[in-house]
């Protein structure tokens, strides 16, 4: 049986229950939610233990990027190895798809958890991740001695 006014009372009860639950708001600058482990934010370089870059300058990330926001300017040194003049990354246009990270064969970049990306100047939206460094040359695996036939 429907009694007139029960819906109104139900509304009052629900809102009072909400009152008792207390606020569930997170006060952002002081309190933060922890990001999930696989959250994807800015593309960031990984480095070797000695601080040198892991990037070999293979340009796969540049080719893979759907937004064309990674630009690597390179030159060749006299000994034939590559030299990275600038690794430019446009944060403002990045959609954080993570394809570059998935494509990188040398595990040189990763999606960081840096999510406070607002800047005062538009120039800050273009980041130079690497500047004037020698590309990483993967040490050639030692040729194992031919086993005795």
């Amino acid at each position: 049986m429907k009694i007139w006014g029960t819906g109104i009372l139900k509304g009052f009860v629900i809102t009072m229950r909400n009152w008792m639950r207390g606020p569930m708001t997170v006060q952002y600058p002081e309190q933060r939610l922890t990001l999930p482990e696989r959250a994807r934010w800015t593309v960031t370089q990984k480095f070797n233990e000695d601080g040198t870059t892991k990037c070999t300058g293979c340009l796969i990330c540049e080719k893979e990027c759907p937004d064309h926001i990674i630009r690597i300017e390179m030159s060749k040194l006299e000994d034939g190895t590559k030299h990275i003049d600038d690794y430019v990354y446009e944060v403002g246009a990045c959609m954080m798809c993570g394809l570059c990270v998935a494509a990188c064969p040398f595990d040189a970049i990763y999606m960081s958890h840096e999510y406070e990306l607002a800047t005062r100047h538009s120039a800050d939206l273009s980041r130079v991740l690497l500047h004037d460094v020698d590309a990483y040359v993967k040490p050639k695996p030692k040729k194992e001695d031919e086993p005795d036939a």
Binding site: I8, G11, F12, I14, T15, M16, N18, W19, R21, G22, P23, M24, T25, Q27
Partner: protein, 327 residues
Amino acid sequence: MNAVAPIAIRILAMLGLLLVNGVVLIYMLRKVLGRLHIRIGPNRVGPFGLLQTVADVVKLLTKEDLMPDSADKWLFWIAPFVVFVPSFLAYLPLAFGPNLAVTRLDTGLLFLLAVLSLIPIGVLMAGWASNSKWSLVGGMRAAGQQIAYEVPLLLSVLGPVMMAGSLDLSKIIEAQKNLWFVFPQFIAFIIYIIAAQADTQQTPFDMSEAESELITGFANEYGGMRFGFLFLAEFSNMFIVAALGTALFFGGWYLPFLADNPIALSLGPVIFIAKAYIGIFVMMWARGALPRIRVDQLLAFAWKALIPISLSWVVIWACIQRLVLVR
């Protein structure tokens, strides 16, 4: 000078109460609605956000006083005051304690309701003078709604008036020393809270503001302190109907079972205002709980349900009082 000073002090106290009420109620509304929505509400300006309303008032005061080009200048200018002055005058007959009222009128209740019924004129003026269709729709709605709901409001207060035998609010409160009128007059009380909520244009009856469709309706084109006046009047109306409900149904400054206690009597005004604020809290609770009803439902409810019920309650109670209580 001696004749003028006490009057001036009373008027200033009235104005002070109105302004403090406005500031406190805006803060309270935000906090209460926040908690009902599982939020926190204002918490940045001052401790617990206590100074938020002060900051807002300063903002409103320093804003440019804009007027639309096509507005009806004179009406646009005067409308906020036509809304504000009645709600200011309505504090006159309120009795806060045994000997504490701005003035004691024999027809205080009649005066209060008469003054409150002037507000729709100001609201309609504001809506018309803005020369905007949203404002006009809001103003028309407010006028239609307040005229419709004033009838049950007036009829619902007749029960307590019959019981007390007076229109003087102090006498009505004194008559409730032993029995609050809410118990014998429960039906009148229900009608009163519905009609009061509608008369002050609080959600679920805020057709004239209707934030989601009319964007504050009649106050649409107002800015700065004119807007402030319109809203101050609204919040002060909330306090007035809550205080009137306290006086008519909840025994004003009396505490239950402690009616003769001298300490309780000396705390009369505090008790009165606390009761009024509890009433305001319930109004805000309804605001957080209930959705806005449709205009046709609103008017049909007033004319088809509330007015017949309140009229028959007046007749029934008159019969009871004449035949049973007073032999």
